[in-house]
C-alpha cells in the first residue's frame, strides 16, 4: 500500500516538473523504466498445433490448465479405487480359496455342512 502511494507521489512530482528535469536525470529515468519493463511478467502464449487445418491448443500456463485439475483428480480417484478393489479381490479370493480347499479336502463330506440346523445339532455336545 505504501509503495503505491509512493509511486503515485513520484508520478505527480514528475508530471509537474517534467520540463525542469536535467537531461542526465531524464536518461537515468528512461533506463530505469526500461529495466522495470524488462522485469515485468512475460505475456502468456498458447502453443498451437496444426492438425489438418484445425488448431489444437495446448494450455501453457497453470492458470489456463485449471480445468485439468478436476480431471486429474477424478483419474487419480478412479485409479485409487481400482487399486483398492484389486487388493480387496485378492484378499477375498485368498480367504475363499483357503476355506474351499480345506472343506473340499476334509474327510467330513460337504453334505454334513449343507443343512445348518443338522450341523448345529451334531456340533452340540451338551448333555441331555
Amino acid at each position: 500500500m505504501n509503495e503505491e502511494r509512493y509511486a503515485s507521489r513520484i508520478r505527480q512530482v514528475l508530471n509537474h516538473g517534467l520540463k525542469d528535469i536535467s537531461p542526465a536525470s531524464a536518461k537515468r529515468l528512461e533506463a530505469s523504466r526500461h529495466l522495470a519493463l524488462s522485469r515485468q511478467k512475460a505475456p502468456v502464449h498458447e502453443v498451437s498445433l496444426a492438425t489438418g487445418g484445425h488448431g489444437f491448443h495446448l494450455p501453457t500456463s497453470f492458470h489456463e490448465a485449471r480445468w485439468l485439475r478436476p480431471l486429474l483428480a477424478a483419474i487419480a480417484l478412479l485409479l485409487g479405487m481400482w487399486i483398492s478393489f484389486y487388493l480387496d479381490a485378492n484378499r477375498y479370493v485368498s480367504e475363499i480359496e483357503e476355506i474351499d480347499s480345506a472343506l473340499l479336502a476334509d474327510d467330513l463330506p460337504i453334505e454334513a455342512f449343507l443343512d445348518k440346523d443338522v450341523f448345529q445339532w451334531l456340533k452340540d455336545d451338551s448333555p441331555d
Partner: protein, 179 residues
C-alpha cells in the same frame, strides 16, 4: 463445484459397490479381479487338476476362475487322500448355488474352530447319522441331543431299526407328530 459433484458421485458409486448380499462376492472384489484365462490357455498341470471343471470353466466368472486356479496351485502340496477328495467334490461344489456355498463355508468355519476331540465327535456322529434312513434321522433330531448317536447305537440295518433302543424310544413321538 463441478469437482465436488464429481467426487461425490464417485464416492457414492464406491459406497454402492460395497457387499450387500453375503452369498454373493462383494462387487468391489468382482470389479477388482482382472480377466482370467480361458480353458485353452491353462497349463497342462492346471488342466489335469481342474479336469472335472472343464465343461463349466468357460461359464465361470473371473473371481471363481481365480479361486480355482489358486486351489490348483495349492493342490500339489496336499496329501494324496486330500487330493482325491478335492477332485471328487469339485463338480458337486461347483454345482451348488452361491447361497448353499455360503452356508457351507459358514458352518465349516465354525467346525474348523472346534477343539480336535469335538471335531472327532462330530465326524463320528455324522458317520452314524448319514447312514440312517431320512425318517429315522428326523425322529432322532426331534427326540433330543445328538449325543444319543454315540451313546445308544442306532440301527445298522434300516429294516431292523425298530429293534434298537433309539427306535423304540422315538416311535411314540413320531406317532404323535403324524396326527
Amino acid at each position: 463445484m463441478a469437482q465436488r459433484r464429481l467426487t461425490g458421485l464417485i464416492l457414492l458409486l464406491a459406497l454402492s459397490l460395497s457387499p450387500v448380499i453375503a452369498a454373493e462376492p462383494p462387487a468391489a472384489a468382482i470389479l477388482g479381479t482382472p480377466p482370467q484365462p480361458g480353458w485353452s490357455l491353462l497349463t497342462a498341470q492346471q488342466k489335469a487338476i481342474l479336469a472335472p471343471l472343464s465343461a463349466s470353466w468357460e461359464s465361470m466368472d473371473n473371481l471363481r476362475r481365480k479361486k480355482w486356479l489358486a486351489i490348483a496351485h495349492r493342490y500339489p502340496g496336499l496329501k494324496p487322500d486330500e487330493q482325491g477328495r478335492i477332485r471328487e467334490r469339485m463338480q458337486e461344489w461347483a454345482a451348488l448355488t452361491p447361497e448353499q456355498r455360503a452356508k457351507i463355508r459358514d458352518s465349516y468355519k465354525e467346525f474348523s474352530r472346534l477343539p480336535p476331540e469335538q471335531k472327532q465327535a462330530v465326524k463320528q456322529k455324522w458317520e452314524i447319522y448319514s447312514n440312517l434312513p431320512p425318517d429315522e434321522r428326523e425322529r432322532l433330531r426331534q427326540g433330543g441331543k445328538s449325543g444319543q448317536l454315540l451313546t445308544s447305537r442306532p440301527p445298522e440295518i434300516p429294516g431292523k431299526a425298530s429293534e434298537t433302543p433309539v427306535q423304540a424310544e422315538t416311535t411314540q413321538p413320531l406317532a404323535n407328530k403324524s396326527q
